[in-house]
């Protein structure tokens, strides 16, 4: 089959095109999403004043990236918390060592044949 040419669009790119009801709905959804983000992730853009496609795109980009960043930061914080758990394991290990030392000491004192002394 022949290769079919797909013509280059003749359209005039117009980022100042008035924003459509679809993009306004998307902005509205993102505005709701932005409310649930911690303040440091807020865009600082007054979304009610958006009138053009490029303005909508700027806001959409800002909140989309903020949502990703908030999730990424939460994941990173989760990872950073892991050492605490590790410390817990180390404590358990120390406890185990202590028990081990105690057991060795006990067995040593048994060998020496001085249980009373061990009791002290």
């Amino acid at each position: 089959m022949d290769v079919i040419d797909v013509p280059r669009p003749k359209s005039v790119r117009d980022p100042n095109r008035p924003v459509s009801s679809l993009l306004l709905a998307q902005v509205k959804h993102l505005r709701e999403a932005e409310k649930s983000l911690p303040p440091q992730y807020h865009s600082g853009i007054f979304s009610h004043a958006i009138q053009t496609e490029s303005e909508a795109a700027r806001y959409i980009q800002s909140v989309t990236e903020a949502i990703h960043a908030a999730h990424d930061d939460a994941s990173a914080a989760r990872v950073r918390r892991v050492p605490k758990r590790k410390r817990g394991i180390e404590i358990a290990a120390v406890a185990d060592h202590a028990a081990e030392r105690k057991a060795k000491k006990k067995s040593r004192s048994k060998k020496k044949g001085s249980p009373s002394k061990h009791k002290k």
Binding site: I4, K28, T64, I67
Partner: protein, 412 residues
């Protein structure tokens, strides 16, 4: 088992914006009479507000013609489908498109442009794919309404009672198709690829807020196609706006009026070409489908369907009567592409966007336990390969993979 189904590992859905079947593919009836489009001798017309009949004409333009954006919210679509009739005994007749568009500008001549359609030669990508693979004569929007609630059906199999553009809440136990896949045992992979962060996704309220990990960007999709890294299920969103990027300028490719239809043609060609030229062509099926008709004419009456389990969130959605999700929206273009599909396949069974999660669930998971009644009753466009499929409906039916599939040269 047919080898096409046996080999199938990846399903990709590309959902475009706001164009009707007759507007985009109606011209193909002249080429293949099995395609339920429009030819000049057909009697279908719409009255204008002077009561003159307006015939469909092949005068559609890529941009600048449908301005303002034709109304496609629930009340307007009701006018388009019922011709402005109200009351309980009304009959759908597809007679209200011109009247509805007239309401926006009050200009009789301009209102007639809602009846324009594209010549086959205007849309070399979409029409070629429709003629070369499987075109659906009866794929309808899920709701006679706008984008967000219709796209919700593609993600969840329901809009949870919404017929508008407002954010909706996911109601348990229903889960998105992505959650179903990634939490399954064995686990499956799924991604929503949006164009870039300035275009983002139309499924913000639930997916983007809570499951950022299922999202990727269009550049990654192309790379995944090229490297053979496609997930089991991919949902691709077009670019929804003209905007600046780090690399330069991005032009909207969603085909939403008044965005350039040719830019959307390029997007469809690019998605197809990267899949076809990648290592997973034999094991991938691509569905190109439009979310809703965008207020543009179509001659096929949307059928009734079994009601959804969720009641409409509005007692009166603007039509003077309740809606039970018991009628589909206006017909949209839909094409299934795979090298295992016979050239010139025309599908006459009824589908809507609930067919997307229904198909993905049944194909990859053997079904899902908790789905909406609309999804439970939706037909599937790819039969499951677990022995439970109806092989008489299998569209990937060839015994030998085609090597005559079309190629596109994209002029940038």
């Amino acid at each position: 088992m047919p080898p096409g189904l046996d080999q199938l590992k990846h399903i990709v859905v590309l959902m475009m914006e706001n164009r009707s079947f007759d507007h985009m593919l109606g011209s193909l009836k002249a080429v293949n009479s099995a395609i339920d489009g429009y030819i000049d001798s057909d009697p279908f017309t719409n009255p204008d507000t002077n009561k003159n009949p307006v015939k469909p004409q092949a005068l559609a333009e890529f941009q600048g013609q449908l301005n303002p954006d034709p109304d496609h919210h629930f009340p307007a679509v009701d006018v388009q489908i019922y011709g402005g009739q109200t009351g309980s005994g009304r009959v759908a007749n597809m007679q209200g498109f011109v009247t509805s568009y007239f309401h926006q500008r009050g200009d009789v001549d301009h209102s007639q442009k809602i009846m324009y359609y594209f010549k086959q030669s205007d849309l070399p990508v979409l029409t070629t794919l429709a003629l070369q693979f499987a075109v659906f004569n009866r794929w309808f929007a899920s709701i006679p309404g706008p984008t967000i609630c219709n796209r919700a059906f593609a993600h969840y199999g329901t809009s949870f009672g919404r017929v508008d553009m407002d954010p909706f809440d996911v109601i348990e136990p229903i889960k998105s198709i992505y959650t179903r896949l990634v939490t399954a045992t064995p686990k499956h992979s799924a991604k929503v690829y949006y164009y870039d962060t300035s275009s983002s996704t139309m499924e913000v309220a639930n997916l983007l807020q809570h499951q950022t990990e299922v999202f990727g960007m269009y550049s990654q999709f192309l790379s995944d196609c090229d490297k053979g890294l496609l997930p089991d299920y991919s949902f691709v969103e077009p670019n929804y706006s003209d905007h600046d990027t780090d690399e330069g300028e991005a032009v909207a490719s969603d085909q939403h009026p008044d965005h350039d239809v040719q830019a959307g043609e390029q997007l469809v060609a690019e998605v197809y070409t990267h899949i076809k030229n990648g290592p997973e062509w034999a094991s991938t099926a691509l569905l190109v489908v439009y979310d809703e008709h965008g207020g543009i004419f179509d001659h096929v009456v949307p059928p009734a369907c079994k009601p959804d389990r969720f009641p409409c969130s509005q007692v009166d959605p603007g039509t003077g009567q309740p809606f039970k999700f018991d009628r589909l929206g206006v017909r949209v273009p839909a094409i299934l592409i795979s090298p295992w599909i016979p050239k010139g396949t025309v599908v006459n069974r009824v589908f809507d966007h609930a067919s997307v999660p229904a198909t993905i669930s049944k194909f990859f998971l053997g079904g899902s336990p908790d789905v909406s009644s609309r999804e439970a009753n939706a037909d599937v466009f790819i039969e499951p390969n677990n022995g439970q499929g109806n092989l008489a409906n299998n569209l990937l039916s060839l015994d030998v993979m085609r090597n005559d599939c079309p190629s596109f040269r994209i002029r940038k």
